[in-house]
Amino acid sequence: TVGCVAIDSAGNLATATSTGGLVNKMVGRIGDTPVIGAGTYANRLCAVSATGVGEAIIRHTVARDVAALMEYVPDLSLEDAAARVVAGVPPGKVGLVAVSAAGEVTMAYNTTGMFRACATEGGRHEVGIWPDD
């Protein structure tokens, strides 16, 4: 699975995710990626793209939950919202990238690693796989 989230200079947020799914999946199986609110979601507060085991991500409506926490919990940072959602999904099953209307960026996962990269106008620039990259 691959995905991208962005906020542009005008403050617009967007997300996109694309995948081949799971190895050896049944024919006809749908994963989280195209299920809006599970693997892919954006509103005026944040944009989220998730990856991992689709069945777990759908059950936990991962992308929408991050946005909902941002919407209903005052002053919660994007990083904390993402961390809470990821912690609620069984270990080894989810990773996500997200960006907020305030320009925050987070890349959270409960797997061994996640191929990830981010950059901000403020100068943050990361490319990594494992937690200590």
Binding site: V2, G3, A6, L13, T17, G20, G21, P34, A47, I129
Partner: protein, 177 residues
């Protein structure tokens, strides 16, 4: 606040022993996508255009599980899916079950922009792709030798596998008779 971008190429049980020939091409693609995206954002591109641009690049990289390089179903076929969503308008588009469309993410955006629906799947999505004239290829275009091997391993282990799951090491019964 300014612009910001984040992208991923999949999460999973990625072993630290991942050999350089499988690690470096993926990291190089991430860096290239980041450069493309930051240049586009600096020049005023919209967030929606940028996320589509980046995911197309990742779909076109055979090392990632999307587009060419998609993992295989139990039947050895590809069934690709994608989604896009625009935060301001909450407009969104999604597709599933694609076997010939080169960039599923762009078809998802066309569903969002050209239809009254959010989600098209399988033969309906394929028909829409032809109607919209997006690039399509024979399904064999998306199937790599590496993913044939991964499917074989998954079948041998009788498992469905998420990205980067490592094959279960054989327990060598010969040692214990």
């Amino acid at each position: 606040m300014g612009w910001a971008i984040a992208l991923h190429g999949g999460a999973g049980d990625i072993p630290r022993s991942l050999p350089p020939d499988r690690r470096e091409p993926r990291l190089a693609t991430l860096r290239r996508c980041l450069d493309l995206a930051t240049a586009a954002l600096r020049s005023g591109s919209t967030a929606l255009d940028v996320v589509e641009l980046v995911v197309r690049e990742l779909e076109n990289c055979p090392h990632y599980n999307a587009g060419v390089g998609s993992v295989l179903t139990a039947d050895g076929t590809v069934e690709m899916e994608a989604a896009v969503m625009d935060g301001n308008t909450m407009r969104c588009g999604a597709v599933s079950g694609l076997s010939t469309v080169v960039n599923a993410v762009s078809l998802a955006r066309l569903v969002m922009e050209k239809t009254p629906h959010i989600y098209l799947a399988f033969h309906g999505a394929e028909a829409f792709a032809r109607e919209q004239g997006v690039e399509t290829k024979d399904p064999s275009h998306f199937i790599t030798e590496a993913n044939k091997e991964r499917l074989r391993q998954a079948k041998e282990a009788n498992r469905v596998q998420v990205d980067y799951t490592q094959p279960i090491p054989k327990d060598d019964n010969s040692r214990i008779g």
